[in-house]
Symmetry: C2
């Protein structure tokens, strides 16, 4: 048993590591056969010229990882390991040959009319930074452990107050679960609902990325057509669904507000079928010319509404923080069977938002943003009327951060978007909003105005009109 | 049509809001019947004594919410709304009668031996704060929009480097998905795996909160018993499972390290059945006396291992940040069908961690914590040997942040925990780790040492021994 040729201590690792690695490779490669006895610690130290402590450490590591076994009073033996052929090239390139590019690539454009980009010119950097630092001092011990699984209590308290006051919710902090965004909130709801519900109704057209979550969770998703004034209650009644996902304050992407009569009908439907209404109030705070529509949840007397709100539109989509308000029965189910899920939101981030709200910055910021977005909304509308020909009709406005434009043309939505992009303007297709898009539908383009600067709105629309209809149209 | 008795302008809201609310209530309550014609704007302004602009604003709001309709050239009419009885008491107390308490209540104890509490005395507040502020300046524009759905590219880059270097992973940034914790990571994996896999094997005993996620997602969970050296490959072969969840670097809660021979067998099993191995390397960085065991993912040549790691043990559980490293085939599926899920982690938090790692603080911190936890580990072991009688056996040590104590007693785990709690010491039951706990098993108590200060370890264990065995035992 000659070990010496195996050993080479020219590496940079600690000696015991080099020794460990060489012996483990020898055992894996069969140079040292299974069952073969290894030199004693003393022997190997002498053979290799390293200290006994070094050999002992290497043997210890080999023992723990199962390369060798130790039999009392008879020494160390190579363990039985299936023969292992080390690939020739261990570089990432060879091991991950067909690795797709996992980067979200977004080319830069001059004007990005995405409905979720917000205006960071008005972002309260100074106040946020102050709250961040204060939260770090005040709640320094938070870093030691998980927080409350529903979110920090004080944040839920101040949030419940805001929702009662501004969004007319009936809401106690006990009902709130702080989360990380719509898809995650819906995923979790799917788990809560799965034992009693199998069919979910969605508005047609509706939010594709919500639909896909239900599908991924094995729910059957049925489409309920929109009427001029929002989802058809009649179709919902016939759909067989016991859950409906809806955006009553601002139908996505169509933009209408669900009238009060339909709200009552919707709640009555839920009571009758033992159903659940998921109300996504994604941008209900932003309503221009009139006051925001009250929430559906606030009208509910039977505990059928799950309310989902976010901090993305009024504050920042990059925060990844939202909240779900559970009705009593679902809260009960959550607390009895779904407590294995810790809060997914950084405690320090929650504390920062808590202080931001407690100090009144939130209310002030929402007011400021409402005024700013109101101005942008009016500017965009004016620019469309100025530059766009008759062929373009504004289907929805006055709520939220986007408008829907219907374009009378032979071109497809994708073609319009490509034409815009070629001119440096990014607008968005609404086609994905349909489970089954009617073939004779004119293209409907989503134009968000949150992220485009006031001074650029007119120019952005002018370029868009030119891209679509040529220089003459936009003159 | 006499409106005047309805109107009362003593509230604090803007006049148009008061008008809107009173008319909407009158329509809801039936005081104004469906179909009834409302006064013209001019008439109502005169009747009520408020300005025309105020009436116009109120009518606009009533129109948008569907309380009234407008017919061209004939005026405004009350809409048909199902009769609505306003509950007498709108306070939260009456509406949420049986609301369970949604607060995580944790009483304070003198010594909390939880396996996930970390030592904030060593928390790098100063460095973290600096990175936080720098991230805010350097990436100010991040606040405007969603980030990369897999997590910020530069964070994934520096993390991939760390995982290759320290945890022997074969890992490119393209494979990494930044997430918010184990349960959320497993939930998402369940969606990715659902179309091809239905049966998941888990170690018995294993991590209960992981098991429950698979169950919630409709998977069949089969138990694979542990042997002295970790999960039984033989049982796994017979289980019918095609997915296995495992903790090879430090079996939870038992503590053994999976030997290299079994690692190979596990990978061969996965290759043979087209299976997936989910490797949760939850505290593999903390290994004392010997170097950390290499990851299973690093040995995989067939793309069968999903690796999950976290920032909770080495840094803070309150951060709610972890990462999943997907093998090529799963990455492909994710990118082709699961792109509707935005990143759930705050961009600024990601940037802060990115800078923290790029500046070398992370490596330094992990080294520091390893030394600190090593000391604590040794102190705890010594305290147990000093204070505990023969009846207490340490089943696992030398890895991670907890030990498992087996107590020879007639008492149950819960009784031991209650006795400890009464003395101001919180330790944890391992009973939940079993899908089916053998009836004749002695109580096994989990004792974490991360969150207890060095100076308190001896005293904590002494009190624990006294609580369990009386003053004589702990003398």
């Amino acid at each position: 048993m000659d070990f010496t040729p195996v050993l080479d201590f020219s590496g940079k690792e600690p000696l015991y590591q080099q020794l460990y690695r060489q012996i483990s490779l020898a055992i894996q490669g069969g140079t040292i056969a299974a069952g073969q006895r290894l030199p004693s610690i003393r022997q190997l130290a002498k053979l290799s010229g390293v200290g006994k402590i070094t050999v002992e450490a290497a043997y210890q590591q080999l023992l723990t990882e199962g390369y060798i076994t130790s039999r009392e009073r008879s020494g160390f033996f190579a363990a039985e390991i299936e023969v292992w052929v080390e690939p020739e090239d261990l570089s990432a390139a060879s091991l991950l040959p067909a690795l797709p590019d996992g980067r979200d690539n977004r080319e830069d454009v001059r004007y990005n009319f995405h409905g979720s980009v917000i205006d960071t010119r008005a972002f309260p950097y100074r106040e946020w930074r102050t709250c961040m630092l204060e939260a770090m001092d005040k709640y320094a011990d938070d870093f030691s452990f998980y927080g409350d699984r529903q979110g920090e209590w004080e944040l839920r308290q101040v949030l419940a107050g805001y929702l009662r006051r501004v969004r007319t919710l009936q809401c106690a902090p006990e009902q709130i679960v702080i989360g990380t965004g719509l898809q995650q909130a819906l995923s979790f709801l799917c788990l809560l609902l799965a034992d009693r519900h199998r069919v979910v109704a969605m508005e047609e057209p509706g939010y594709a990325d919500a639909r896909v979550v239900f599908v991924h969770h094995g729910f059957t998703v049925v489409s309920v057509p929109l009427q001029e004034d929002g989802l058809s209650i009649e179709s919902l009644e016939k759909s067989g669904a016991t859950v409906v996902y809806t955006t009553p304050a601002h139908q996505y992407p169509h933009g209408m507000v669900l009238p009060v009569a339909k709200r009552h009908q919707l709640l009555q439907w839920a009571r009758r079928v033992g159903g659940i209404v998921i109300e996504n109030d994604y941008d209900g705070e932003f309503r221009y010319n009139v006051k925001p529509t009250p929430s559906l949840q606030g009208m509910d007397r039977d505990g059928t509404v799950v309310y989902i709100g976010n901090f993305s539109k009024a504050f920042s989509p990059a925060l990844r923080m939202d909240y779900t308000v559970l009705p009593a029965a679902l809260l009960q189910r959550y607390l009895s069977s779904y407590t294995a899920y810790p809060s997914p939101v950084c405690r320090h981030l929650q504390r920062t938002m808590q202080l931001f709200m407690q100090k009144g910055h939130w209310d002030k910021h929402v007011r400021k943003m409402r005024t700013l977005y109101h101005r942008k909304h009016d500017l965009l509308l004016k620019a469309i009327h100025t530059h766009m020909p008759q062929a373009v009709r504004v289907l929805s406005h006055s709520v939220g951060l986007h408008m829907l434009l219907e374009v009378e043309t032979e071109r497809s939505e994708d073609e319009l978007i490509e034409q815009a992009l070629a001119a440096g303007v990014r607008v968005y297709a609404s086609g994905r909003s349909w489970a089954e898009r009617p073939v004779d539908l004119l293209p409907r383009i989503i134009v968000g105005f949150g992220g485009v600067e006031e001074a650029d709105l007119d120019e952005g629309v002018r370029i868009l009109a030119e891209a679509w209809f040529g220089a003459a149209a936009s003159a």
